[in-house]
Amino acid sequence: MALLEVNDLKVHFPIRGGILNRKIGAIKAVDGVSFSIERGKTYGLVGESGSGKTTTGKAIIGLNHITSGTVKFDGVDLAGFTSKKSDIRKDIQMIFQDPYSSLNGRKRVLDIVAEPLRNFENLTKTEEKKRVQELLEQVGLSPESIIKYPHQFSGGQRQRIGIARAIALKPKLIIADEPVSALDVSVQAQVLNFMQDIQKDLNLTYLFISHDLGIVKHMCDEIGIMYKGRYVESGTKADIFNHPQHIYTKRLVAAIPDINPVNRQQQKVYREEVEKEYQQNYNDYFDQEGLAYTLRHISDSHLVALPQKG
């Protein structure tokens, strides 16, 4: 059984207006998204800004209200879950995009990392301090860091503090919302490799949200591509990168820079071809509102949003 199963998830935000400020419409931030993640795997959710990928992640962890659909974690539906919510929520944690605003600047590292421990575990002051120091060591920071404040660390170090906080409760699933996009390129690889290490050590499952296909290729086993709140394509890493079917995916894949200068010219020609195809066939791949069609299987693992016609 999959660890996380999302079925037809919808998150709509109401648009209010008129004299009485009544609901007059809705922004469909997430509009019918389904996927599942196997234990110990990394699932990549890719899309441009505003495609609904972060909203999906936040809905799963409970930060956004779910309009309809189900989110099953370990077989338990989280959508209608109200009582004793926290017990199951503790198995899902999140790493935030911005390492500057996600740590409260007025708190010491000890208080930041100990926050989840204080909510769920009854530790004495010394036990708590020891636990926090262990966690810091685990993420590669010195144990003395506990009495420092976030502003005394670099971006990469702060993201490690965020990770230490996220793994404090030994969660099963971590939702990583663009965990490296606010960091220097030189630090990105460090943090990513480190995330892979702790994944092995702690047997974590990742939902990896990113707009950067290069990083997703490096991190993920399965990938879902979102556009305007819907899926356009999903499949294994090989499906997406070697056999992209939807023009939107093709365009994204073509845009990944290649480090080898020999291929540069070839790469450029390919990119222009894809761009041309995208412009020509846009109307075939999207409906009148510019939204993707429903997904259809083209193999066991590979789903593409293609129009109903043959």
């Binding site: 936040k58 962890i61 409970g62 930060l63 926290s86 929520r89 503790k90 899902i92 944690q93 999140m94 935030f96 995009q97 911005d98 605003s101 996600s102 740590l103 409260n104 600047g105 007025r106 708190k107 926050e115 989840p116 909510n119 769920f120 003395e144 009495i147 420092k148 404040y149 502003h151 005394q152 965020g162 906080r165 409760l169």
Partner: protein, 300 residues
Amino acid sequence: MEYSNVEVVEVEQEKAPSMAKVIWREIVRDKVALISFIFLIVITSLVYGVSLFLNQDEIVKVDLFAINQPPSNEFLLGTDYGGRDIFGQLIIGTRNSLSIGILVTLMTGIIGITYGLVSGYYGGTVDNIMMRIVDFFLILPFLMIVIVFVAIVPKYSIWSFSLIMTAFLWMGIARLIRSKALQERELDYAQASKTLGTPNWKIMFFQVLPNLSSLIIVTMTLNLAANIGLESGLSFLGFGFPEDTPSLGTLLGYARNPQTLELRWWIWVPAAIMVFLLMLAVRNVGEALKRATDARQRRG
């Protein structure tokens, strides 16, 4: 080397962008604020210190043989129409005015901050309803309603006076805190706390509130100045402190009598100067704090 295996980890206890230090530096840089600050310290310790030795009953006792006397060696600032020593009344009055100003500021602060935090943090419908209530309170003719309540409250005392003032003065700070809380709750650290299972009330008071501390300090200081003015105004009109409990306002209230106003300056002018200086000094400190908390305006 003998010492090499002894590792001394020296950890400096460093404060976050140390607020206290920045504020102190700003106040010292700003000579006006520094003088105001020293003035406040001196006046406060003086009136609280001296009033320990003054007998309030003695001062407010009517002495018909010494009415309306101009300043002399016996009565440093003369006496009022009941022969009561003005200087003593001024000392005790300043103490009382300061005390009630601080009390009302704290009470409105606690109510306003809690109200604003809840409203801003929850947002949505809760916020909408709570803010409509604030709007309504803000629109009331504050002064008149307070006067009416003071006039009709049975068993009127200092406590009921400060409660009445508080009941109609908490909205300003509530509004300010609400607009800030509304921004803070969208920041990742508040969202992160939610995902970590921290209950809402804890996020409000232990995560969001500390981030608003500088704003709160500034607002409360400026409110203190305003409240000292308000108290003296209400007492002046006769709807604040009762006459047997002198305050700066009750001294000023004697000036409602045209003869006192015209001919016996020693009764009301010292109190007027005291109110003015207190308000000015508190405001100066408040403005310096404001600059200290806003990096763009900082002088030092």
